[in-house]
């Protein structure tokens, strides 16, 4: 139950001179400090901590104001003001998770919604340069007209802004061939937390052009990316484009368009076929071992552009309501052990025929059954949203109808999937479930994304607590911490959870690196000497660490102890 309903929560406003200075940069039309405005920038989507803090009526979570710049120069000016006055700031696009909730008061939110242009699409050099608010759907739409595309779209939604995904994420359905967003960035222009402007890649040399992602010399991209919004503000990003052989725009679904009267009818989600020159195959297996073996075989065969196992997640994406999702989970409507493969005629119209032959050969060898009109046709019918989702994932956030509070997202060799499953079951036993649907990955396949020809994969299992029950959310958070501890104890690498590899979990897991947090502190000094950009996000300074309440450290240490990891002082 939310604490005292009569207790109001007020943000701490900026000193007037700072407000005036910021107003001078963007104009009075583009700066807001009204209470209801800052409210809409304070509760993030996937970040469980903001929900807990909302329940606790924590005023720190409210930004002091929101500014909306329109250019790199304006952003630089804003950042310089923040440095001058020691006011923290947070770059903000959607507010899912990749920007940070505020931790200190006052904090300025720099909302990038005015910077939403595709600056150029370079069909010659296969790249597109974007402002930070451009999303995957927009980029794909423009690129596909030109016979190109960006190589994939993220699971959650096709509305992710590419620049903010750059800060942390970027997993796609088609990673098998195209890799993560990691692999697909050519350059960024970034306003660093100290107010300098950094350009990466070949573009940093005059006249060179924007085509190469590395260097010169040591490559800084690897530090900037995945810094959880702490490395600065991307004001331009150039991404790679690849050959696109599908339709220029998605054909209309024969059932037509929904209206508010009938929006939940499944027929509207059912593209009868995948896009032109693409084909999707669903395969069911008798057990997890066969599924993993088949996925390995398929990944190694060199066929296909996408290879994933979806398990319970299809119950979300392919179900129009939460009730339908729950019912399908209960009834195990979708196969427990499955995968889907996307084939494409990129080189030739004969490519799919060849690759299908290879696919069937592998499945025959390993054992598995294709879903078809003869085998589970109703399930195959229900899986039809994937025909479009595999390219432009649109239904993804159906998994977030409650609250996508915690994800275990380990990455590693395919066999780690077994450990993920086993440990997830243990976690469910220790902490209990949040919702029926979070048994996904315990009794059926975790989500398995086969990345980059099977060299390594992501796996995913999730909790979906009720957002109005803070105890549930805290339980989900505990899962996350436990996950970190689990994977370190079992020497299976850092848990690449989407939402919890931020402090204090960086400093409190020094096994990672080891002592990665010390290195990150050094790097933070380089990029953010004043600690103004998303402070408390990726890594604390020593001073910030000292201010972490003892009970927070204690609660994490308790969970560490569950995996026999020593306490961190």
């Amino acid at each position: 139950m939310t604490e005292n309903k009569t207790q109001k929560v007020q943000q701490k406003k900026l000193p007037r001179e700072v407000y005036t200075a910021l107003q001078g940069v963007v104009g009075e039309q583009w700066i807001y400090e009204q209470r209801s405005v800052v409210e809409t920038y304070s509760k993030l989507s996937i970040d469980a901590s903001t929900f807990v803090r909302k329940h606790k009526k924590d005023p720190h979570i409210l930004p002091a104001c929101v500014v909306l710049p329109a250019s790199t120069e304006e952003i630089q000016a804003i950042v310089r003001i923040c440095n001058r006055y020691h006011i923290p700031f947070i770059p903000f696009t959607n507010g899912q998770v990749f920007s940070a909730p505020t931790n200190t008061m006052p904090t300025v939110v720099i909302h990038l919604s005015r910077m939403n242009k595709i600056i150029r699409i370079d069909t010659e050099n296969l790249s597109a340069t974007l402002q930070p608010y451009v999303d995957y759907g927009q980029l794909q739409a423009e690129a596909m007209k030109r016979g190109l595309w960006n190589g994939g779209s993220p699971l959650a939604t096709s509305l992710c802004k590419i620049a903010s995904q750059y800060s942390f994420a970027g997993l796609w359905q088609t990673d098998l061939k195209y890799g993560l967003l990691n692999r697909n960035i050519v350059s960024v222009t970034m306003v660093l937390p100290d107010g300098e402007i950094l350009v990466t890649g070949s573009r940093c040399i005059p006249k060179a052009g924007d085509f190469l992602e590395y260097g010169p010399g040591p490559d800084l991209m690897g530090l900037l990316r995945s810094a959880a919004g702490t490395s600065g503000i991307v004001t331009e990003i150039t991404v790679k484009l690849h050959t696109w052989v599908g339709d220029q725009c998605f054909p209309e679904i024969p059932a037509g368009r929904p209206s508010l009267v009938d929006v939940h009818e499944p027929k509207y989600d059912n593209p009868p076929e995948p896009l032109k020159n693409h084909r999707l195959y669903w395969i069911e297996f008798k057990d997890f071992a066969s599924e993993i073996k088949a996925m390995r075989g398929i990944a190694h065969s060199g066929i296909g552009i996408g290879l994933n196992a979806t398990g319970v997640y299809s119950a979300f994406y392919c179900s129009q309501t939460q009730d339908m999702t729950i019912e399908r989970c209960k009834k195990k409507f979708f196969p427990d052990w499955n995968c889907y493969v996307i084939l494409a005629n990129i080189t030739s119209e004969k490519q799919i025929a060849y690759e299908e032959k290879v696919l069937r050969h592998i499945i025959e060898e390993i054992g598995g059954t294709f879903l078809s009109e003869h085998h589970k046709p109703k399930v195959l019918e229900a899986l039809k949203p994937w025909n479009y989702d595999c390219i432009r994932h649109t239904t993804g956030f159906r998994m977030n109808r409650k609250m996508y509070a915690n994800a275990w997202l380990p990455v590693g060799p395919l066999e780690n999937a077994f450990v993920t499953m086993e440990q997830w079951k243990k976690a469910l036993d220790i902490f209990g479930e949040c919702d029926i649907t979070d048994r996904g990955g315990a009794d059926d396949t975790p989500f398995v994304y086969a990345l980059q020809r099977g060299h390594f994969c992501f796996f995913e299992t999730d909790n979906y607590p009720d957002p109005v029950v803070p105890e549930e959310i805290e339980k989900a958070q505990a899962y996350g911490i436990y996950g970190n501890a689990t994977f370190i104890r079992h020497n299976l690498g850092p848990m690449l959870m989407a939402f919890l590899n931020v402090e204090p979990l960086t400093t409190m897991f020094p096994e990672v690196g080891p002592n990665a947090y010390l290195l990150m502190r050094k790097l933070r000094r380089v990029f953010d000497p004043q600690s103004v950009c998303s402070p408390g996000r990726q890594v604390f300074t020593e001073e910030e660490w000292q201010q972490v309440p003892a009970e927070v450290k204690e609660s994490i240490n308790k969970i560490r102890a569950l995996q026999n990891l020593p306490a961190i002082v």
Partner: protein
């Protein structure tokens, strides 16, 4: 099940903000309330779908923003004194329903209903609506129309048309013209054409004339539930007593109100006649060959889906079928159509209180229409027509605007 179909424990107009508590806490910030459904995006230029967010670029203007504001109000995080600016956020919204369309489809949540409930709360608590809306409500109460026009002028549009007077005679069909077409003389020809089409098809049709009442749609959208209930009761009584078997509305707002809002009024007797919008009715007349379009109209057009007709009520195909039946007409579609149509900017009380915003929204629609290569934009909604005409006047692009009935009447040679 949606608002329209499911029969939850409470009707919509019974719900208070607290009834949405679970929903607003669970807003996923997925941004579908601001953007076109991913599978339908054809360009970057026309990928957004929320007129208010598109214009102002901050979240309180979006469906998601309303959900967050509602959550904070429910939990007492702030109140009206702390955030007087809220009123502008909740009323700079045309209630086009694009946010709810996509949010329903993805998240099974209802940001539009949350916003309309916010409005109801504001009105209930005396914090709203805007002064312009108060004038509008007073006009409806006093004159049965929101345009501050005398009741006696309501039937002037029909002087050249021989419709039965349902106050004195019986007819099978009621032609419910609606306030906007009745009182805006630039729209009379649209209402006249529609009536003429019905007559030409031999429909036994009448009207209430001066005695027609406002359907109450603007009042419902603004959030004055009490006044809306009164209007709804009056209308249902009058219509049921008239003995008509079917109602044809000219205005999609009236259509939506009669068809979908009235059933959500607690304790209200159901409307007995079937309710149709003129487009679906005329489409049927064409199918049944009770109308024969013969005269070619060589014109490239694009169809604008009125929000209340299309997205809210599911009538997409009827107007397109009509256009397809008219010889010489070539239909080219905009990118944002049907459930993903871009709003004209005229609805939800936005035009009354924020005319610049309403006009800017219309200008964007005109630009989109222009890009299709069409010479004319066609629709059938008096609010849309009003606002799009303003948009054309402001736009750098030159386009004609037709009501669908004007083309039909030409084609059938009346």
């Amino acid at each position: 099940m949606t608002y329209y179909e499911k029969k939850p424990e409470k009707k919509f107009f019974e719900k208070q903000l607290e009834d949405y508590r679970d929903m607003v806490w669970g807003c996923a910030r997925c941004n579908w309330c601001q953007n076109q459904w991913g599978w339908n995006v054809k360009s970057a230029e026309f990928s957004e779908i929320c007129p208010a967010f598109h214009e102002y670029r901050i979240f309180p203007y979006s469906g998601m923003g309303k959900m967050h504001i509602a959550r904070a109000l429910i939990e007492g995080d702030f109140d009206y004194d702390d955030a007087p600016e809220m009123i502008d956020f909740i009323y700079t919204c045309t209630t086009c329903g694009a946010c709810e369309m996509n949010c329903q489809r993805l998240q099974d949540k209802e940001p539009l209903k949350v916003n309309e409930t916010l409005r109801a709360k504001f009105v209930q608590d005396g914090f709203g609506p805007k002064p312009e809306h108060k004038r509008l409500i007073a006009s409806v109460k006093n004159y049965s129309n929101p345009w501050m026009q005398p009741r006696t002028q309501r039937d002037r549009w029909a002087r050249t048309i021989k419709l039965k007077d349902l106050n004195k005679e019986k007819a099978e069909t009621l032609f419910f013209v609606g306030c906007t077409a009745a009182f805006n003389n630039t729209l009379w020809k649209m209402a006249q054409s529609t009536a003429a089409i019905l007559l030409a098809a031999g429909v036994d049709v009448g009207m209430f004339g001066k005695e027609e009442l406002c359907c109450g749609s603007p009042i419902a959208r603004i959030g004055d539930r009490e006044t809306f209930f009164t209007i709804a009761q009056q209308n249902v009584k009058r219509i049921n007593e008239s003995g008509v078997r079917e109602i044809i509305t000219f205005c999609p707002g009236c259509y939506r109100s009669l068809q979908h809002d009235y059933p959500e009024v607690p304790g209200l007797e159901p409307l007995r006649p079937a309710v149709y919008h003129s487009t679906e009715y005329v489409a049927r007349l064409l199918r049944e060959q009770r109308l024969i379009p013969q005269k070619p109209i060589p014109l490239k057009v694009t169809w604008h889906d009125p929000c209340h007709l299309g997205r809210h009520c599911g009538i997409y195909d009827a107007p397109r079928d009509i256009l397809a039946a008219l010889p010489g007409i070539e239909l080219v579609e905009m990118e944002r159509i049907k459930d993903q149509a871009w709003c004209c900017g005229g609805g939800g009380g936005a035009r009354a209180a924020y005319p610049n915003f309403a006009r800017a929204t219309a200008v964007k629609r005109i630009a989109e229409a222009y890009k299709t290569g069409a010479l004319a934009i066609v629709t059938q909604c008096p609010f849309c027509e009003q606002n799009l005409m303003d948009g054309i006047a402001q736009s750098e692009h030159s386009m004609q605007l037709y009501d669908l009935s004007e083309l039909v009447i030409k084609a059938i040679g009346e």
